[in-house]
Subunit: 365 residues, 4 copies
Amino acid sequence: MDQSPLLAGGSQKSCEPVIPPQTGEALAMIIITRPDATEEQIGHIVSRIRDWGLKAEVSRGEMRVVIGVIGPEDKIREKPLGVFPGVESVTPVLKPYKLVSYEFRGTSSKVKIGDVVLGNKDVVIMAGPCSVENEGQITTIANSIRKAGARILRGGAFKPRTSPYSFQGLGKVGLQLLAEARKESGLPIITEVMDTKDLDLVCEYADCLQVGARNMQNFSLLREVGRTRLPVMLKRGMAASIKDLLMSAEYILSEGNFNVLLCERGIRTFETMTRNTLDLNAVPVLKSETHLPIVVDPTHGIGIRQFVPAMALAAVAAGADSIMVEVHNAPELAKSDGEQSLLPAEFVDLVGRIRAVAEAVGRAV
Amino acid sequence: MDQSPLLAGGSQKSCEPVIPPQTGEALAMIIITRPDATEEQIGHIVSRIRDWGLKAEVSRGEMRVVIGVIGPEDKIREKPLGVFPGVESVTPVLKPYKLVSYEFRGTSSKVKIGDVVLGNKDVVIMAGPCSVENEGQITTIANSIRKAGARILRGGAFKPRTSPYSFQGLGKVGLQLLAEARKESGLPIITEVMDTKDLDLVCEYADCLQVGARNMQNFSLLREVGRTRLPVMLKRGMAASIKDLLMSAEYILSEGNFNVLLCERGIRTFETMTRNTLDLNAVPVLKSETHLPIVVDPTHGIGIRQFVPAMALAAVAAGADSIMVEVHNAPELAKSDGEQSLLPAEFVDLVGRIRAVAEAVGRAV
Amino acid sequence: MDQSPLLAGGSQKSCEPVIPPQTGEALAMIIITRPDATEEQIGHIVSRIRDWGLKAEVSRGEMRVVIGVIGPEDKIREKPLGVFPGVESVTPVLKPYKLVSYEFRGTSSKVKIGDVVLGNKDVVIMAGPCSVENEGQITTIANSIRKAGARILRGGAFKPRTSPYSFQGLGKVGLQLLAEARKESGLPIITEVMDTKDLDLVCEYADCLQVGARNMQNFSLLREVGRTRLPVMLKRGMAASIKDLLMSAEYILSEGNFNVLLCERGIRTFETMTRNTLDLNAVPVLKSETHLPIVVDPTHGIGIRQFVPAMALAAVAAGADSIMVEVHNAPELAKSDGEQSLLPAEFVDLVGRIRAVAEAVGRAV
Amino acid sequence: MDQSPLLAGGSQKSCEPVIPPQTGEALAMIIITRPDATEEQIGHIVSRIRDWGLKAEVSRGEMRVVIGVIGPEDKIREKPLGVFPGVESVTPVLKPYKLVSYEFRGTSSKVKIGDVVLGNKDVVIMAGPCSVENEGQITTIANSIRKAGARILRGGAFKPRTSPYSFQGLGKVGLQLLAEARKESGLPIITEVMDTKDLDLVCEYADCLQVGARNMQNFSLLREVGRTRLPVMLKRGMAASIKDLLMSAEYILSEGNFNVLLCERGIRTFETMTRNTLDLNAVPVLKSETHLPIVVDPTHGIGIRQFVPAMALAAVAAGADSIMVEVHNAPELAKSDGEQSLLPAEFVDLVGRIRAVAEAVGRAV
C-alpha cells in the first residue's frame, strides 16, 4: 500500500493511535485575571499550576494579572483553568490540532482514490447523482460524466434525509450498482457511510468513504473510518467552524489514516435565498492551516442548479484541489435533490469552464 | 407498561414503523412560476402533476401563475417540483412532521423516567456532572443533588469531545458507576449514547437515553433509539432549526417510541461572549407545535457558571417542563466542563429560586 | 438636572468628550508569532514596539514566541500589530470599553425618564403601539396601558421600514400626538430618532430617545445623542455582538451622556420560525459587564403575538430591569407590526404575570 | 447627462419618487389557516379582505384552508394579514422589490463613475487605502494603483469605527486630499458618507458615494443619496439578507437615482478565523435578481491580507462586475485596517491574476 505519502512503506491499516508529539516546555496557555481578582485567588491559581508540575510566569498590569502556563501542551489542555475564581479569560497559545496542521508536514499531502491523485496540480472533478436509484441511472450518468472529464463517481446508497418519510437510499443494492457503474466506466467511487455498523459493508465497495456534514462530529464514526485503509472525505458540518472541521479530521488521522480530504459544502447562516452559504474563505484558510487536500461542493453550497456553475468556478479560483458536483440525467425523476443537480449537457459545459479557470490560476483539469 | 400515554395497553418495543396518517385530498403544495415562464413550461408542470395522479389547480396573476397541487401529502413531498423549468418557488401547505405535531394528539404528552413523570405541572430538575469520573464523585453528587431537590441524575459515560486527545469518558465502567449511584440515591439516570453499536450496552443501565446535539441528525442512531423501550431526550443541534429538531424527533416516533423529550441547549451564532446562544424562543414555539415535553439545558446554553442560574430561571418562566444543569463537587478537578458546572451549594440555592419562579408561573418543583 | 447619578451636581449637557482614564503601564496586548517566524521578523516587531515608546516582553516557547506589549492602552490599540510579518495572533488583555464597564463605576447606574427610574428594584414596563397612527389610537392606548401598570409610553413617529413603500411614520405630527397622549395619561414617552437632522425636533417632544437596531452603528447619530440632555435607549443590532453593543454605548457616554439604557431585542440567526432570536444570555452577561440598566423587548425578539408573554416573563426572570412590549387596540388596523402587538386585555394579563415573576426573583412591578 | 440608461434624456437629480408600477389584479398573497381555525374565523378573514376592495379565493383542504388574496400588490402588502385569528402563515406571491428587479428592466444596467463604466464586459478594479491619512500617502497610492491597472480610487475621509477612541478619519481635509489625488492620478474617487448632514460636503468631492455596511438600513441616508446626481455603491450589512440589500437599494432607486452598485463584503456568521464570511453565493443570485452591477470587496470579506487575492479571484470567477481591494504603501503605519491591506507589489501581482481569471470567464480587465 502506498496510498499514504505519510506512511510510505508502512501500513495504513492501524488500530494504534498515532502518539501526538509532545511539545515540551512551551508557553501553552495565557490566563488573564479579572480586575477584582484578589491576591489570594491569584496565589491559588499559581499554586495549583505548580502542583500539576507545570510552570507559571506571572506578569502584573495595573488592573489585571497575566499568568503564562508553561509545560507539555496536552497536559495543560486537560486542566480546567477557566474554573478558578478570579479568572477572566484563558487563551491557548498553541493550536489544538497537530497531525492535520500544515506545520506537522511542512508540505501538502496527496491522497489517492483508485488511480486518481488529489492534491496535485490538476483539479479533480467528482460528479454523480445525489442518490443511486437504479442500474440504468447510475451507469448512464457514470459514462456520461467520464466522457465529460470527471474522474471520480459520487452517489449515495445510504442517504441522510431530514424526514423519515423521504427516500433513504438503496443501501447494499445501491453499493452493488455503484460497483457495476465503476466497472462500466472505470471511475473510482466515493459514497457516504452513516453508521459504524454499515462500515464494513461500505468498505467492501467504496474507493473513498464520505462522512457527511451531519456526521462531522459523530466521533465514533470518525474513529472507525480512521481505522480503515480507505481514503475519507470529511464534509464540514453546517455549524462547524474551520477549527472544528480540523479537529474532526484530527480524530481520523490520530487513528492512523492520513488519507483525508476536507470538503467545504456550505454553512448555515441567516440567508434564506440559498440553501447554504458556501464559505469559500475556508479554502485559502485551510490551504494555509493544513496539509490535507481541499474539496468544494458547490451543489450543496448554493443548492440551486442554475447557480452551481458560478460557484464551481469560484471554488477553483479560490484554490480548491477538487470540485464535487451533482449530475442527474433526469432531475424531474430524481428521488432527492433534483433541484440542484446539473443536467449532463450542463456538466459538459461546466467542465470546459472549470478547465479555463484552472489554467488561469496555474492548474489544470 | 404504561409509560406511553399514546400506546396505553400496547408495547413500547416495536420495530414496526407507525404508519403516518394519509391526509387525502388536501391542497398540499403551492407552486409559483417565474415572470418569464412560458405557457409551454406551465403546461408541462401541470401535465406532470396529473401524470402522477395528482390534481393541479391553476390561478393566473399578471406576472406569475400559481399552481396548487392537491393529493396525498406524502406522495407530493417526494416529487421534485422545484426542478421544473419556469418554477420560482414551491411552498408546502402542510407541515412536514406529523406524529410529533401538537395537532396529532391535541394534548400534551407525559414521559416517565423511572418513577418521575415529565410534562406534569411540576418542573423536573435533572442534575449531575458532565462526565462520570469515579465512584466517589458520582455517588456524592447524586446524593447531594437529590437532597437539594433534583429528581433525575445525569452523567456522561460516553463523551463526545471535540478533540481526540481529550477525556472520552469511562464507557462501560461509567455506566456501572451510574447504576451504583442510582442505587445509592434512588434517582433514575439519563446518559448519552453516541453510537448504534453501544446502544444495547447503554440500554442495560440507563433509565433515559440522551441523543446529543452533535448526533441530532445521526439518523441511524435516531431509528435505533426509536426501536428501544426507553425514553429518549433529543438535544437540539447547534445549527438545527426548530423544524429540524421536530423532524429528527419524528424519526424516533415513527419507529414506535413516543417517549421523547426535546431539549433546547443553545444554538451557534456569531456571539462569542457565551458558549452558545440559548434560544428560549424555542420553548413557547415548541409547546405550541408539539405535544412532547420540553427540557432546557442552561449550562450548555450559556456555558459560564455564574450565569447559569439566571438562564435556568428564564427557562422556567418561558414554560420549560424540565431543567437540566451540570453540578460538580470539585470543578477544579473535573475532567470536562468544569467552567460551567455549579457547585453543590450553588445548586441548592438555585433549586429554591427555581421553585419560586415555577410557582409564579403556576407550576411547582 | 439630577438625572445622572454619575454627574450629580454637574451638567448632563456637555459637548466635551469625557477623557478616558489612562491605564498606564499595563500589559495591554499579547502577540503570538507563527511557527515559521524568523528571528529577523521577531526582532523587527520588538524594535518597532520600542520605537513607539512601549515595552516588549519576550517569552520563547518551542514553536512560538509570545511578546507582551506594555504601555498605555489607548496608544497600543491604535497600532496595527497584526500587520507585521511573522505574527499569528494578537490578543488584547484589556477590554475595549471603559465608561460603560461595570468596573468603571463599581455599582449599577440608575436612569430617570420623566419621573420613572430604571435600575431600581422594580421592573419598569414600557408599552405602546409600534407606530403612532392618529390621536384616538395613541391616547386610547396610553390610558389603557397606564391603568394596566405600564409606566412609560412607546410609539414611533419616524419608522425604519425595510420597504420604501411601507408606512414611514407620521413624523412631526406623530410627535405631537405622543405629547398629547403624555398629557392625557401622565406617562413619559420614548420614541425613535433615525437621523441627526431630526434630532432637535425629536428632543423637543421625547422624554427618552430610542436609537434603533438598524442604527446601532450609525456613529454620527450616537455622537449626537451623546450631546443631548436626554436619556437614550440603545437597541442591539441584529448582527451586533454584546461587545459591539457596549462599544456603541461607549460612543454616547464618551460625549458626556451617561443616561443610557441597553436593549436586547433579538439577533439574526438561521432560525426562521421566529422573527429574531431573543438572546436572553445577554441579560446576565450585560449585568456583569456594565453598570447600565438593561431593557428587553420580547415583541421584536420573537415577533409572534401569542409567544410574547412567555418571553417577557423569561426576560424578567433572567434579570432585566425593564420590559418593552408593543400593545395595539386594533391590531387588524395597525399600520405596522400588527402581528406581534398584544391586545390591551392580553397586556393587562401579562402585567399580572410579570409582577408574580418579578416578586419571585426579588423584584417588584 | 447620460449616466443612467434608465433616465436617458432626463435628469438624474429628482426629488420626486418614481411611482412604482401597479400590478393590477394579480394573486398577491396566500393565507394558510391553522388546522383548528373555525368557520367563523375563516369567514372573518374573507369578509375583511372583501371590505378592503380585494378579492379572496378560498380552497379547502382536509386540515387547512388556503385563501388567495387578489388585487393591487401595494395595497395588499400594507394589510396586517398575519394578525387574524386562525391564520397559520402568509406567503407573498410577488417579490417586494420592483425597480431593482431584473424583470423591471429585462437587461443589465451600466453605471458610470467619472469615465469608467461598470457593468460592461471588463471587470473594474477599485483600490486604495482604508483611510485617507495624508497627502503623500493618498497620492502615492493613487499613482501606484493606477499604474497597476486600477480604475477607481477608494479612500475613507469619514470612517465608521467600532470604538469612539479610534481614528475617525480626516473629514473635509480627507476629501480635499482625495480630490488632489484624483487630479494627480486621473482616477475618479469613491468615498463613504455616513450622515445626511455631511452629504452636501461629500457630494462636492466624490465621483461615487459609498453607503457602508453599518448604514445599509439607515433609511434617511438612503433616501438622501437617492436624491443626488451621484452614483452610489451600497454595501451589504453584516446581518442583511440578499433581499434586505435589494430593498435598501429600492429606497435609492425610488427617489430617482438608478445609478446604484451593490457590494458584497461579507456577512457575520459563527466562523471566527476570518473577519467576515464572504458570501459569494450572493453574486450569481444578485445577477439573476437585479439589473444593477455587482461589486465584491474581498478585503473586508476575509480580513486577512494573505488570503485577499484568493477571494478576489473567486469573486471574478463567480461573476462580479467589479472588485474593491484595500492597498496601503505602509501597512505598519496605517491608521486603520493595516492587517488586511495589500502592499503595492502584491496588488500589481493580483491585477495580473485577476486579468487571467477574467479572461477565462469571458471578461477582461
